[in-house]
Symmetry: C2
Subunit: 568 residues, 2 copies
């Protein structure tokens, strides 16, 4: 039996190896246009940054063998044809016409089963100048090596990254951190990681960029033209012209489907290769997986395009089994992701507030700031989580978070993501059992606190204000109707009270009942503490005292600071 | 309405605060025998070690307020009676007879709802000398402060810890790490963390103790007597006499049920207070939770005693709601835990091999060693996971693991624990979606690898040998029937080949097909690589070549080294 696999980056090699392990007598041939195969594409930003010193490290196994043609032949008994393009598929004859890109030689490759592991292609802006030298996408090791060589030779001093998705942010770090380059980031939408996290959390991510001296972050700005003599020298947006000697376009990827289209295989509405749950295309002898297909989103119940090296590997193994007759079905995804940007990790699972609203759900979000471990344990750092909940039902649609400790953030996001495989409600979050010991978590973990807070909001006990609403009323024209009641201890509150006399009032939460006469009854009160917990208690006390024109600032002063507002 | 809560450490305060937040007009009185209330008992080892500098830190809120009687009164409007004992409950009159331990005064406290948050008491060995001075349990802040003072004054040089459960191991670190004391650990069972992890993984934990210079680890040893003039000076076991100037007994805890028993409330077979899913005892006006009750184990479907500060907090909140008329039901537990011991974290969820076998299940375990992040990412460290699987069905009963990075370990254990809330099968583990980016995980995460490996074992493709079986045949009398085939590269294998000529053979996996004639066909072959992955591939190749008398060493040389065997 002959199996041909088109594409040899992530899914292809995984499928090939799985097939050979299940039945070493199958002939497996894997072809790829590139000369370099089976590499960790997700590691490219870390190679460019210098964290990973050699490009070959992305191509080696964990035991330091380079996964090249020879390796696949010797260690895996898989034939790999590099610099080889699949020109067309003849489904009737069950052959693939392939062409060697160096020799131009063509030949037919017979298959019994064919696997399309054609992956995705980064989008390029189709604007004037986009083919100038030094305008890159981050697509393969050749480009990455080229970029790093330019930097190492001192030829880059003003890199510009277009697109503030995960790869864009990773690239900003790659240029700025170890290389210290003066990097500009441009995003057409109003926020960083648009769609993936809330605008409020996006502000906190932006603030981290600023703290890391990446101050040229231009949002809601549209790139219109690249210019320069031979190579890129400037970028024109709808707002300004920016000097640039290297540009990375990180504006999304699209599935590679041309081969499938030409072979009359069905393509989905959104432009990916259509497969069933067993990864069969509309031709049952042809399988597809990884970045060239869509997945079922288990939260929305709708298809979602979610390119991911991890997903490709899991697809690949299952395709390997199914090619040999298994009928394994892939359940779907909850689009869990994480990324590192300087000293901050950003992670999410399920869908964001924005995505839920666009899908027509009536949702709110709750935002909780709490330690990533017991507050008394050395090294404790604050973690920030936001949860998207349906108002009526209390159903949980997703959680997004940021933390200085990505592993600790994964510990929460992975657990919630696992819950989200099935319909999840607030109580599942409130009661979620997580590994507890003071060096790793609080007795009431931030995840449980997130559920508890959401429950209090739905019950109408906790009436909250978000950081953007705070920003809108604090110091704005609406100011005179508001009073900001700081319920922390006097030492914490003092600088604020001094900076905003008459506007910022301090009555510690534990003195509130005794000092209730000092609370003005003719203003909208915004209750503020460090995180939103004591101010919630204050709100309850004030309600009892008949003062109910209060809002509790979610995340409190921690959220104010994290989003970069400098009040004092 | 009056609510009385007996016990004010973890569950009590949480219940009290929840009630007051839901309805500030309820009168809540909380009583405790101790003078110190509402503290993080799980933090005691870190206070003794000096990681936490002041005992009050265990008693403060995250915003540095000490949670004493005054705090509860002022900030929470909860009355706290310390140094006060609940003598008896009069269920007919709905009163609790309380006694002030200082004044000996008694009075009746009326309740509408009563909450038993009586917690647990550490077991003490009932052997001669157990009441000598400086023989402690780790139960409260007074003992902890006393122990730390003794150390700080230089009066402790030979501490002995009895019991190698979580608290015992934490105490060993507390004495040895910052204080540098020459600590002895004694455990009556054959392994560390008996029942919680496998004997093989226990060896790895023991090896970490040895690397941290805790060399006096005496397993399967029974303490028979404490001796000394006034204070403890020596310990006699069934095997030796050990000098000791301070002893900590960490031999488990038992639920405090006397008050409930005396009030004729039902007690479970295993000796905990019986409650329904809403935490009501057999008197529907009396609730109980935390360390004095049992929980439903969601994996075994049977009751389990699982004392935990985190669990007590989650119980407490729900009891608070239910006391006020809610009907929330606690689902149960999967006994997820983690602990830090020097630079190693040990975590588990579900049940261990031993527990599953004793419960009558026909199970096996699979052991996987893999990086905690992408192998090319700086700072990658190996993680070790073991999974317990039912042979016939592929049902997953539990996962145990060790790692130098406890947060990264939590990221895996929390996700698996979340799965285990429902019946879990191998494919759920193989397909589990985890947050992926090279700084935090591998494209095929160790969790997925664990599922894949278990699948290969069940399919009969991967015939494995565990590290204890390896130890039994390597260098033993059975030796002559065995040959150890190292399929790594020559550089890695060389020291082993030189140390064991004729016994340890090296043919790299990628040369195996070409050099098949060198493989002896008259021996039991143990296939070895660094982790068990390449040796699995070698096993498939050898099967194809007609050599099937092979076993693949799970975890490979990494497991050999981690468990402390010094082969070269």
């Amino acid at each position: 039996m002959n199996v041909v696999i088109i594409g040899a980056v992530a899914l292809g090699p995984k499928t090939a190896c799985r097939i050979k392990r299940l039945n070493p007598e199958i002939n497996v041939t894997m072809i790829d246009r590139d000369s370099i195969v089976s590499y960790g594409g997700c590691g490219i930003p870390y190679f460019i940054s210098g964290d990973v010193s050699e490009a070959t490290q992305l191509q080696t196994t964990s035991f330091h063998m380079v996964r090249d043609e020879k390796f696949f032949n010797k260690a895996k008994d898989v034939e790999v044809l590099t610099r080889t393009e699949a020109v067309s598929i003849n489904r009737k004859q069950k052959t693939v016409l392939i062409r060697n890109l160096d020799t131009e030689q063509e030949r037919e490759l017979p298959y019994d089963k064919l696997v399309l592991a054609t992956g995705s292609t980064p989008n390029r802006l189709t604007i004037p100048g986009s083919t100038l030298k030094n305008v890159f996408t981050v697509a393969n090791i050749h480009d990455a090596t080229h970029i790093r060589e330019l930097i190492a030779k001192g030829k880059v001093s003003k890199p510009v990254v277009i697109g503030a998705g995960a790869i864009g942010l990773e690239m900003v770090e790659a240029f700025s951190d170890l290389w210290g380059l003066d990097t500009t980031l441009i995003e057409v939408q109003e926020q960083l990681l648009p769609g993936s996290i809330s605008p409020n959390m996006s502000k906190m991510v932006k603030q981290h960029l600023i703290e890391k001296n990446v101050e040229k972050v231009f949002l809601k700005e549209c790139v219109q033209e690249f210019g320069g003599e031979g190579q890129v020298e400037w970028i024109k947006t709808d707002k300004r012209t920016i000097d640039a000697d290297l540009v990375v376009m990180a504006v999304g990827v699209r599935p590679n489907t041309q081969l499938a289209k030409d072979a009359d295989l069905s393509i989905s509405k959104n432009g990916a290769i259509k497969v069933n749950k067993q990864f069969q295309t509309t031709d049952s002898n042809i399988y597809a997986g990884g970045d060239c297909i869509e997945n079922l989103h288990l939260v929305t119940g709708k298809p979602v395009y979610f390119p991911s090296g991890s997903l490709a590997n899991r697809h690949g193994r299952m395709i390997g089994s199914n090619v040999l007759g298994a009928t394994e079905e892939f359940p779907g995804v909850v689009t869990t992701f994480i990324l590192k940007m300087f000293d901050l990790a950003i992670a999410a699972t399920g869908i964001s507030l924005d995505q839920a609203q666009r899908a027509g759900y009536d949702v709110f979000s709750t935002f909780v700031v709490q330690g990533d471990r017991a507050h008394f344990f050395p090294g404790m750092d604050l973690m920030y989580l936001e949860m998207v909940v349906e108002k009526e039902s209390g159903r949980v649609f997703g959680v997004q978070g940021i933390s200085g400790n990505g592993d600790a953030l994964s510990a929460r996001i992975n657990a919630i993501g696992t819950l989200l495989q099935r319909k999840t409600f607030i109580k599942d979050i409130s009661n979620l059992e997580l590994a507890y010991a003071p060096p790793f978590s609080a007795a009431m973990d931030i995840v449980n606190a997130l559920g508890n807070t959401a429950e209090n909001i739905i019950a109408g006990k906790n009436r909250v204000m978000d950081i953007d609403q705070f920003e809108a009323v604090f110091g704005g024209p609406a100011d005179q109707n508001y009073l900001f009641l700081d319920v922390r201890g006097p030492a914490n509150a003092k600088p604020f009270v001094e900076a905003y006399p008459g506007l910022w009032l301090n009555i510690p939460q534990d003195e509130l009942r005794d000092r209730i006469d000092e609370v003005p009854r003719d203003k909208n009160l915004v209750l503020i503490c460090n995180s939103g917990v004591r101010s919630y208690e204050a709100q309850i006390t004030l309600d009892l005292m008949g003062i109910s024109t209060t809002k509790n600032l979610q995340g409190g002063v921690a959220a104010i600071k994290k989003s970069g507002m400098k009040l004092v």
